[in-house]
């Protein structure tokens, strides 16, 4: 059995979710190749070649792959699938965009967001916003799988795989990239950050959200997250959203400020190592999962926390 992992990268560098997906792939087979599809992505491919356990890296490049168009990624992967029994993709918004297309073209089910590999054909995945775990057995000859990266440890370095060029698939004439607005931030990326500071609806406005949450995040070297309620209310951009319908994170430290702890938010952060909750409502459900809870108004608690961190040399 050979497995293809489709890398998550920004052309210049490889995202940590790729290493974690390689770990999931190695649980299926010892023959794991990584496809880097992009434009000017040699650096990402070289990084993939260094992942321990990777047999070979395939590099496909075109303008459309650089733009991440789903049709182009699918057309690149399909001709390769003759040589693989499974294809694994990190369940990022990009992975979720193209992976189901590959499954449909192969006429197989997609096994979405697995958190555990039980055997070659059996996997565990969360359903109902993480309130239940489903163990499914696939009868398909080829498996198309997306991987919840936070559920797997990152494969280390130490590999020396070869990098081989493969043809980029033809792009669809029916889709055209127009532009993108990516938020440039000096903060770590939310999905892979060691510390996450998240704000909720209690912030009351976008100005208050950035005034309270961002300085604390910067003091801790943390990424910024938000509850769905805060995103819904327009206090924070959608890609800050932590939860079942947003990003699933599992940092060393998760700080929830003014977040009540709706089921769908808990689903996105309950695997964090240490959870801190600051909320003035002592009955907020967030306290049921928090290791350390501080019942206080964030308006006074956050400045005090900033001062205490300064006093502690942070």
């Amino acid at each position: 059995m050979a497995v293809l992992v489709i890398a998550d990268h920004d052309n210049a560098s490889l995202k940590d979710s790729t290493n974690k997906t390689v770990t999931a792939a190695l649980a299926l087979s010892g023959d794991v190749d990584v496809l880097v599809a992009g434009k000017g992505a040699k650096a990402a491919a070289d990084a993939a070649a260094k992942i321990a356990g990777v047999r070979k890296v395939l590099l496909a490049e075109s303008d459309e792959l650089g733009q991440g168009l789903a049709e182009a990624v699918e057309a690149t992967v399909l001709p390769l699938m003759g040589g693989y029994d499974a294809v694994l993709t990190p369940a990022t918004s990009q992975g979720k965009n193209f992976s189901p297309r590959i499954a449909a073209k192969l006429d197989v089910a997609q096994i979405s967001e697995i958190v555990e590999v039980v055997s070659n054909d059996t996997f565990v995945r969360p359903i109902y916003a993480g309130n239940a775990l489903e163990t499914v057995q696939s009868s398909d000859a080829k498996k198309v799988i997306t991987v919840r990266a936070t559920a797997f440890a990152a494969a280390g370095e130490g590999g020396s795989a070869s990098v081989e060029n493969v043809a980029a698939g033809a792009a669809s004439a029916k889709v055209k990239f127009v532009d993108q607005q990516l938020v440039k931030s000096a903060r770590p990326e939310l999905a892979g950050a060691k510390i996450v500071v998240s704000g909720g609806r209690a912030m009351g406005s976008a100005e208050e959200f950035s005034k309270v949450i961002e300085p604390l995040a910067d003091k801790l070297g943390a990424a910024v997250g938000a509850s769905r309620a805060a995103v819904d209310a327009g206090y924070a951009p959608n890609d800050y959203q932590v939860g079942q319908t947003g990003k699933v994170v599992a940092p060393e430290l998760y700080v929830a400020i003014g977040i009540s702890g709706a089921i769908q938010h808990l689903a996105g952060m309950k695997d964090s190592k240490v959870i801190v909750a600051i909320n003035k409502d002592a009955d907020a459900p967030i306290f049921q999962v928090a290791d350390f809870g501080l019942v206080a108004d964030y308006k006074t608690a956050v400045p005090e926390l900033m001062a205490a961190l300064t006093a502690a040399g942070k």
Binding site: G68, P100, R101, Q110, Y128, G130, L133, Q137, F292, L305
Partner: protein, 248 residues
């Protein structure tokens, strides 16, 4: 332009799903069911397109048990014109749902399909992409803004790290993300009017689609519970505890 909106009947998003003690699935007996929140956003978008004069007809289609008629009526009360229920008592996987939708699309010939990005029960986030692949139509997933012209859809998409805008030639599949719009509440007069709107019911078997499952659910279990920790008295206390825990 005709807009087709597939909708799914799911557990109400405010209800906590409970796993059955025999591990056969999630207990849905006597549980409040509603339209899937992302499908509701898709319906709202289609109705707004009609109100703007861009869409001429909004057809909602659901695949599910007889009770999914209630879900369709919910969408009709929001302003959709016509409903189609493809009755199936079998819980279909996304690929089979996409195949059934492809068969409906062959009959209805919509100019665009707007659907939710994900159902909150199976959490697959796959059906729209699969449907686009099966039809060889362009896809624009996770939409936060849609501009429709006669033959093109300009769609702003929520991607990792920001937004991306793409232009798709119609017909196309668009999947709705959270920030696309805020769905309206149906007014009582509109709920009454919706009862008289046309709603066709067809048996799924009549479509001649292969519905053989690819996945077998071996068991459904509850995730490990996280237990509550301690309450700290002050910010200083909190920092001291975090240092002890080794995360600062």
């Amino acid at each position: 332009m005709k807009v087709l909106v597939p909708v799914k009947r799911v557990i109400d998003s405010n209800v906590k799903a409970r796993v059955k003690s025999d591990q056969s699935g999630v207990d849905l007996a006597n549980v409040k069911m509603s339209i899937n929140p992302f499908c509701e956003i898709a319906v709202e978008e289609a109705v707004r397109l009609k109100e703007k004069g861009v869409a001429t007809e909004v057809v909602v289609v659901s695949i599910g048990p007889a009770q999914a008629q209630e879900t369709l009526r919910q969408a009709l009360a929001m302003g959709a014109d016509r409903g189609v229920l493809i009755q199936s008592d079998q819980d279909l996987e996304p690929l089979e749902v996409a195949k059934v939708l492809k068969a409906i699309i062959a009959e209805e010939a919509p100019g665009v399909v707007i659907m939710g990005k994900q159902a909150i029960d199976g959490d697959n986030n796959a059906t729209g992409q699969m449907l686009a692949a099966l039809l060889d139509w362009p896809q624009a997933t996770f939409a936060s803004a849609i501009e429709l012209s006669a033959d093109k859809a300009k769609v702003t998409r929520e991607v990792d790290g920001g937004l991306q805008t793409i232009e798709a030639t119609l017909p196309a599949i668009i999947t709705a993300d959270l920030r696309l719009n805020e769905p309206r509440y149906a007014s009582l007069p509109n709920i009454m009017k919706a009862k008289k709107k046309p709603l066709d019911v067809k048996e799924v078997a009549s479509l001649g689609v292969d519905l053989t499952p690819h996945l077998k659910v071996l068991k459904v279990t509850e995730p490990a519970k996280r237990s509550a920790g301690i309450k700290v008295e002050s910010a200083g206390d909190l920092v001291a505890n975090l240092k002890t825990a080794g995360v600062l």
